[in-house]
């Protein structure tokens, strides 16, 4: 029982990180109907920027942890957002109105480019960061097994849920969110009513990239090891999460992310961990067989 709970805690932490990345996939898909395959790389860049700023702040002597964390968080979000904006501007916007596969191919190209760019400037070696947020508490003693939750795990899950709530509210209640939904539903009509569609799409990429930066920071803090390739695997998992939850749905992305994290952790806890991805994709296939639009996706029936 205790072991099970511990895997649950670990799975939720991993799942929260997937969820943050998945939100970026789902928002972009929702608004422009394309999969931004470079999004995993944006997350990887967010992780590198976080690590670099931790080192820089260490050199500058900013050692008070809350201040350092806040500074890194803001700087990483801002800089990564610039990358997200640039990717859209360079690789996708010129192809808008082109055939459907064009931006997809361009996205894959962007992904390869960003990976190799980081490989070139940062090298192939893993970069490590010593644990910065230590400590936690013991949840319970069960069956001779101590279930512990670290402060960091708590922060990761808490921040993810908070960001999900905030961005769901942004999309439902603010003018920007309304413009995003209008653009999603009918781009031409949105423009006819005075919405700057290009700007709305840019902002969507900026928000997605900023959230990926938060995920990058979390991974750096939680696992302490990053390299230029982490974006690929995390990207594929987060994309799977978005599809599992129902692509286009923000709560769906978070649900999908948490589920995949849980499946991975629980499978690894009881079964050969090499097969954990098999378990993840088996669940994905099962869900799509019975709910082709994902768990929280909306069925495409509208009376028009």
């Amino acid at each position: 029982m205790g072991y099970f709970l511990q895997q649950l805690v670990n799975g939720l932490t991993l799942g929260a990180i997937y969820a943050l990345i998945a939100i970026g996939y789902t928002m972009v898909y929702g608004i422009v109907g394309m999969i931004n395959f470079a999004h995993g790389e944006i997350f990887m860049i967010g992780a590198f920027i976080s690590l670099i700023f931790f080192v820089v702040l260490g050199v500058l002597g900013v050692t008070w942890l809350p201040l350092a964390l806040l500074l890194v968080l803001l700087l990483a979000m801002a800089l990564t957002a610039v990358y997200g904006w640039a990717v859209e501007r360079i690789a996708y916007r010129p192809l808008r109105g082109s055939f459907r596969l064009a931006p997809l191919i361009s996205a894959i190209g962007m992904s390869i480019f960003l990976q190799n760019y980081v490989l070139l400037v940062q090298g192939a070696h893993e970069k490590t960061l010593p644990p910065m947020i230590t400590g936690g508490f013991e949840l319970m003693q069960s069956g001779g097994f101590m279930v512990s939750v670290s402060w960091l795990q708590l922060i990761i899950v808490g921040v993810t849920l908070l960001l999900m709530v905030v961005f769901t509210a942004v999309i439902q209640l603010t003018p920007l969110g309304r413009a995003q939904r209008a653009t999603e539903q009918d781009m031409t009509m949105a423009a006819l009513l005075g919405i700057d569609v290009d700007r709305t799409i840019s902002l969507t990429f900026v928000i997605g990239a900023a959230l990926a930066a938060v995920a990058g920071l979390m991974v750096t803090l939680q696992y302490g090891v990053i390299d230029f390739f982490i974006g690929f695997l995390a990207g594929v998992k987060a994309f799977t999460a978005a599809v599992l939850g129902g692509i286009g749905s923000l709560p769906g992305a978070v649900l999908g992310g948490l589920l995949i994290g849980l499946i991975e952790a629980l499978w690894s806890g009881y079964c050969p961990s090499e097969y954990k991805d098999v378990a993840v994709y088996a669940v994905l296939i099962l869900v799509l067989m019975f709910r082709p639009t994902g768990l929280l996706g909306r069925p495409e029936v509208e009376k028009v």
């Binding site: 003018p175 309304r178 413009a179 939904r181 209008a182 539903q185 009918d186 031409t188 009509m189 949105a190 423009a191 006819l192 009513l193 005075g194 919405i195 700057d196 569609v197 909306r298 509208e302 009376k303 028009v304």
Partner: protein, 243 residues
């Protein structure tokens, strides 16, 4: 009478197909101008080209003395042109109220309550359904919402594309009544595309006949209504189906 909208030599194409072949058209401030013509004559294309989609291939569009030919679509609305387009294009997964809010994107926020109240006064059914999603409205209600949404930007020129299409005669009558009312009471200029030529010509001050991308005839509504060719092509032939 001063020209609010002046279109000269306008050409536009969808891909290889030229839909407008040099259109000249003027809409005076305060007028209702009708544009009639058969399916595929280019009526909807003309309204969309005024809004920059597709972009004009040649010619100029001058609105209130300003050349808007090459402005971005979203910017054109800011000058005071709004459109209830072909097919209504209601945002199906947004509520009636949200559709109106999107319509008010370029309007001063402090006017929102007043403008919304005005739309609900013109179309009381929209007020009753304000929290209902656009996709669940009937065709007539969607048309009302499309017009109401276009009014929320406080336009000086309203472009209406087939507002009576597919509607029950009573609903169509109500919509024509509202178009007259906003033109008379709020001095909103209207450029109206209609299949229902009889109705359109009766309420229009002036009208144009568009045929395969060119203007072939123009005059006052009454003149065109009395014109033999117009009657034969657009009224008597069509009236049997519409009556």
């Amino acid at each position: 009478m001063s020209a609010l909208l002046k279109i000269s030599g306008l050409r536009a194409a969808y891909g290889q197909i030229e839909a407008l072949k040099g259109v000249d058209l003027t809409v005076g401030a305060g007028e209702i101008v009708a544009l009639i013509g058969a399916n595929g004559a280019g009526k909807s294309t003309l309204l969309m080209t005024i809004c920059g989609r597709p972009r004009a291939a040649a010619g100029t569009i001058v609105f209130d003395g300003r050349d808007i030919t090459n402005l971005q679509t979203f910017a054109i609305v800011r000058f005071g042109i709004s459109q209830a387009p072909e097919g209504r294009r209601i945002f199906p997964r947004m509520t009636v109220l949200e559709n109106l809010q999107i319509g008010a994107t370029t309007a001063a926020p402090e006017r929102f309550d007043r403008d919304r109240a005005r739309v609900f006064e013109l179309f009381p059914i929209l007020g009753e359904r304000r929290h209902q999603r656009g996709g669940t409205l009937s065709g007539g209600e969607q048309q009302m919402l499309a017009i109401g949404r276009a009014l929320m930007s406080q336009p000086r020129l309203l472009l209406l594309d087939e507002p009576s299409l597919g509607l029950a005669p009573l609903v169509a009558k109500q919509i024509f009544g509202v178009i007259r009312a906003i033109n008379a009471e709020e001095k909103i200029t209207v450029l109206l595309v209609e299949q229902n030529a009889h109705h359109a010509l009766r309420m229009a001050h002036r009208a144009y006949v568009l045929q395969t991308g060119s203007i072939v005839l123009s005059g006052t509504g009454a003149e065109l209504l009395a014109n033999e060719e117009v009657r034969a092509a657009y009224i008597e032939g069509g009236a049997r189906g519409a009556a």
